[in-house]
């Protein structure tokens, strides 16, 4: 296996130019039809709105303004993407083996295998995947698997003018990120921290430097694997089956005995367990 590769996205230097989105779309030849709809957010300068089958990079604008737009005004930007989780929920539930882990420790949906069952959509803790309306398959960032295989940098990282998106071997990226956090702390920006270390799903191979709570950026605080529910949910269902099955068994058995003990009250008793209400 090649070295694990990933993205380190430093949100503090993102300027919201969306060059990464454009580069991603043009390299991966993703349509910009929005399924034929002209979709505007209507309440934000950000009209990409979310990650989906046609948007594998999404620069989130976190616009925090008070009514007068003066007393409070803050604009955070974050170029969001698939996290290429070390423990990936999407990969776990995929019933066809279409979602694979590559030699670079990234997560890729093989387009020729995907059947569009959409099991991975609700499984991803970050809501990254959606159906591409052109191919009718589930799509998301591949971390430019094709470029990586020939030693190229993914399109978004290549295009990013501020080095907010950095690409490289994970070991180096983690080190860089640590240094950056230390640098920000020394400058008095105590709130800077890394989102996506080993504590989250075994580590996010695409991780972030944030300066506020994850929720502010639309990220879950403690993302989990879907399989955490597999056993407890199955046991509950099996319990229900056992209760109803046993109840059926016991009620059939006792009814037969009861009917026998009662005797042929209506004169038609005979046979194996004559019924109380049976027609003569």
């Amino acid at each position: 296996m090649a070295e694990p590769m990933g993205f380190f996205t430093d949100t503090t230097v993102c300027i919201g130019c969306k060059a990464c989105e454009v580069a991603c779309k043009s390299w991966n030849q993703i349509s910009s039809t929005n399924g034929g709809q002209n979709v505007l957010s209507g309440d934000s300068y950000d009209n990409t709105r979310k990650l989906d089958g046609e948007h594998w990079r999404h620069v989130k604008f976190i616009e925090q303004f008070s009514e007068d737009r003066v007393s409070e005004s803050r604009w955070l930007m974050m170029s969001d993407v698939c996290k290429h989780c070390v423990q990936a929920g999407c990969l776990e539930v995929c019933p066809t083996g279409a979602i694979i882990r590559t030699e670079f420790d990234t997560v890729v949906i093989q387009q020729d295998a995907c059947i569009g069952c959409r099991a991975c959509l609700p499984a991803c803790p970050f809501g990254v995947i959606d159906i591409n309306p052109v191919t009718h398959t589930a799509q998301k960032c591949t971390l430019c698997y094709d470029r990586m295989q020939v030693g190229m940098t993914p399109a978004c990282a290549q295009a990013c003018p501020t080095a907010s998106i950095q690409f490289g071997p994970l070991v180096q990226l983690r080190k860089k990120a640590e240094d950056r956090v230390a640098q920000l702390h020394s400058q008095g920006k105590e709130e800077a921290y890394i989102y996506g270390d080993e504590a989250i799903l075994g580590g996010l191979n695409s991780f972030y430097l944030l300066v506020d709570n994850p929720e502010v950026y639309g990220l879950p605080v403690a993302p989990k694997l879907p399989s955490r529910n597999l056993w407890r949910s199955s046991f509950a269902a099996a319990f229900g089956a056992a209760v109803l099955g046993l109840w059926g068994l016991v009620s059939l058995r006792t009814r037969k005995r009861g009917a026998k003990a009662e005797g042929p009250s209506s004169g038609d008793g005979g046979g194996d367990g004559g019924k109380k209400g049976a027609a003569p």
């Binding site: 019933p95 959509l121 639309g218 879950p220 509950a236 099996a238 229900g240 099955g245 009620s251």
Partner: protein
Amino acid sequence: MRDVLFTAPAHWHWLIVVYFFFGGLSAGSYVLGALLHLFGGAQERPASRLGYLVSLPALLACPPLLIVDLDRPERFWHLFLWSQRPGVMFKWWSPMSIGSWALLLFGAFSFVSFVGALSADPWRPSWLPERLAVLGRGIWGKVLAAGGAGFAFFIAGYTGVLLSVTNRPLWAETPLLGLLFTASAMAASAALVGFVASRRGGAFVPALPWLSRMEHAAALLELLVLLLFLAWLGPAVAAWRGPYGVLLGMAVLLGLVAPLALTLVRARGHAARGRAARGEASGAARGEMSGEAPGGGHEVTALGVGLVLAGSLALRAAIVLASEALGHA
């Protein structure tokens, strides 16, 4: 904010809801048939076969619904075989993978039991050889019933597990959905099989009291689990404020409260008439009474079964669609 609210919906809508409904009916009917077959008496064999006869037609609705719901329907076989190399595709930890296989295998059980039952039924079409009835007889028939019932219970419950093994609001926040769907499937199937048995009368009548008790037991379990489910969710229950709450209300009123009330009223009436017949009434009146209610007042009316089935469908719709409406669109 709850972590589950940062996730995307699966776009599982009515096709999936209707699949859950038919899958539950097919599974529940098979289980009822198998229970009557394995533990019932000889006079309940016709009703047991009725369970198998209901199971397969309900099951046949499922594959088309599931395949049409895929965005690439022509690739549905990727669920069973690797698409890029020879080999069998099976992931036991993926509910959809194991569910696809279970549906296939349960289909085989349901089919064989159906053929065995139809061959022994008064409705046997003339082209179906009567000797195929051996498929449902003897030790072989019992082994088939036991195996099929196992798969049937799996089909009844796995759909709930499938919803829970995600990161979605409501679904992933409780482990109770598989249990809830199992109970609901059993209640709806008992009503359906009871209804068909009531309509056909005669040899199918002796099982009616048991089917009715089974329906009530399952409905009671369903009600308890539903209450526990809502309590478990806590403030998340707010998702049912609005149209989906109406569906949930329908599920409870139509599927649980109304049928229980209906049978209670009829059981009262039956008991009162029985008392009257046993007491002062003449022998003639007594004969009339027993002639009126051969199933001991346990017949399922069209209204009764309609309510329960509508409730069962509404329950699945309320749970699937309420969650689908949350999170980023």
